[in-house]
Structure formats: structure tokens, C-alpha cells
Symmetry: C2
Subunit: 192 residues, 2 copies
Amino acid sequence: MTEKVLKPFTIDFDLITGYSQAKNSTKRPLSKMKGMYADDVAFDSAIQNDDPLVYEFYELDLPETPGNLLFGTSIVYPGKVGDEYFMTKGHFHTILDTGEVYYCLSGYGAMLMENPEGDWDIQYFSPGKAVYVPPRYAHRSINLGNETLVTFFTFRADAGHDYGTIETKGYRKLVVERDGKPEIIDNPKWKE
Amino acid sequence: MTEKVLKPFTIDFDLITGYSQAKNSTKRPLSKMKGMYADDVAFDSAIQNDDPLVYEFYELDLPETPGNLLFGTSIVYPGKVGDEYFMTKGHFHTILDTGEVYYCLSGYGAMLMENPEGDWDIQYFSPGKAVYVPPRYAHRSINLGNETLVTFFTFRADAGHDYGTIETKGYRKLVVERDGKPEIIDNPKWKE
Ligand SMILES: [Mn+2]
Ligand SMILES: [Mn+2]
């Protein structure tokens, strides 16, 4: 036996709102995302104004072994910073060769992905769509609609989160509103 | 790089019915479950009558590596064989030390679990309840209601399915209807 015996359990996540009654979520107000949006003026103005809650998610406390899975909901609120849609920080997994599943429960949005080899990809969320983030891809959820974007995610418990690479280099691509519609553009702040 | 690069993709699973428009499901009519229900007379009579579809589920075709995840929906129909509720075959993972997440989308039921060390457990499904099957536990979904039980599952792509142990030994416990309610009893067919 390579792992301590863990007992079965149940936890609730509302199928529409994503909220759990059993746990507190981790919350990301805009002020925790300095430098991640293209428009610094709009960013500073927004955090001085009301510092909106951009997203929240649940983190389970399970043994971080390759045989366990972590899961929960991610809840991204509607909004923009300048013309850039509200999004999560995005991260690589520390164990790069591990994937993740996101199943959309409500709202409309996208998963923006890129890997160290230079490939990037976008997949769209609407209720009932499951997006597979394969091993090696950094992933960021983006709310492209007027309602809250709620997804149920699962990943290997030992995968780990590497936020630093994205914080330092940024993403290759941004999703901004142009003529009322989402458009994918090159990130002017991106560093090779 | 230890794995071939796999591209991101999206697949639909209806949030109520569990059905995908993109794929065909794997179907388990009652005739494929010989010996798994306690009441052999009721079993033989049911398969000679209309051989009802007990459950179906989706199997993705991804590389079966430790870094990938397989996911989809499991759909268990309401019904009984004698007084025993419709259920899945149940299985251990071939790589025993791997867990699985089941998130209930609709219906009412249970996940019956047992491990080789002799521990058993039951957790209940209703919409919005996520059940964690820890490493080492065989798992079987049981429909305890009058509607279809639909869950969204995720597990490690290399975990593998060991159906044989359950087919040979059975489960320690059964869930049967007594006075209109589910009751957990010892399985008379169970072999140590
Ligand atoms: Mn992740
Ligand atoms: Mn399984």
C-alpha cells in the first residue's frame, strides 16, 4: 500500500451557482491580479473604486498524491477591465504533464490555453460543455457573458499550481471586447 | 516530455439527461449482469421478458497515461431485480491506488464502496452532490429513486477497470427495498 487509507465522502456544489454549503471558497478580488490585465489605467481605477470580486473557487484538503483527485467549482463573475473580460489568473501545473477537466454548469465563457512549446488554443464554455485541458497546457477561464460562469473541475491531487510563470511572462493571447463581441488579440505585455 | 502532445477539446454532456450528442455510449442491458443480483429467478424472468437497459456510460479515447484524465457521464435507469435496485457492475481500478470523482447531475441514488482491507461505505447522490471514491475502493452506482440517476465522473486515464474481482466474489453488501425504502443487507452470495 503506497497511500494512507482515505475514507469516502460527499460534498455539495450547487449545480447553478457553484456554491458549496460545506466549505469556504478562496476569493480573488481584482487587486490580487496586478499586472495581469492589459489596461493598467482601467485596472488602477477599478481597484480604487470598488475592487470587484473577479472569481472564487474551492480547494479541498486531500493528500496530494498521484492517486487522489482534487475537485470543486470555479466561479468567474461577469465584468471587464477596460475592454478585457474578467478571467482567472491562469496557471501551469507544477507537474506539467497532468491534465484537467472543466465541466460547465452555467454561464458562457472560454478556456484559454497555451503550452511551453508555443501552441495555444481556446475552447468555449456553455452549460453542459466539458473542456479537456491536456497535460502541459496553462489554463485560464474567461467570462464572456453577462452571467456568472460556473465550472466543475477535477485534477490530480499532486499536480500543483505554478502561477509564477504566467505572472512573469503573461499569456500570448488576450480576449477583449470589440464591437460588442469577444476577439482574440496578441498580448502587448507578453514576454518570450 | 514524457507524453505525446494531446490537443484541447470540448465534448457535450447534457446536464439533466447526461447524454452526449458527440459520442455513442456503452450500454449494459440486464443480460450482461448475470449472477450480480441476489434473486436469480427474478433475474431470469426479467431478461426473458424484455432484458431492460440497466445503465449506460461514455468512454473517451485518450492516451491511457497517468497524466491524462478520463471523464463522462454514467446513466443508471430506475428499476429493480426482485427487491434489489438497478445498479452498475461495479469495479476496482486495476491501479488500485487511484480514486474517482462522481458529481450528481440528476436523480437519487448511492455509491456503494468496499476496499480489499474489508472496509465498506455508502454515500448518497442527489443533484449537486459530489462523491469522492478514494483510492482502493471498488465502486458501484445504485439508483434508489424513480428517475434516472445521472453522474459526471473523472478518473486517471491509466487507472484501468478490474470487473473480474466483483464478478467472482460479489460485493459484501446489497441495497434492497424493504417497506418501500432502501435497506443495506449482507450479500448472501458474497465469498471471502
Ligand atoms: Mn489547473
Ligand atoms: Mn472507476
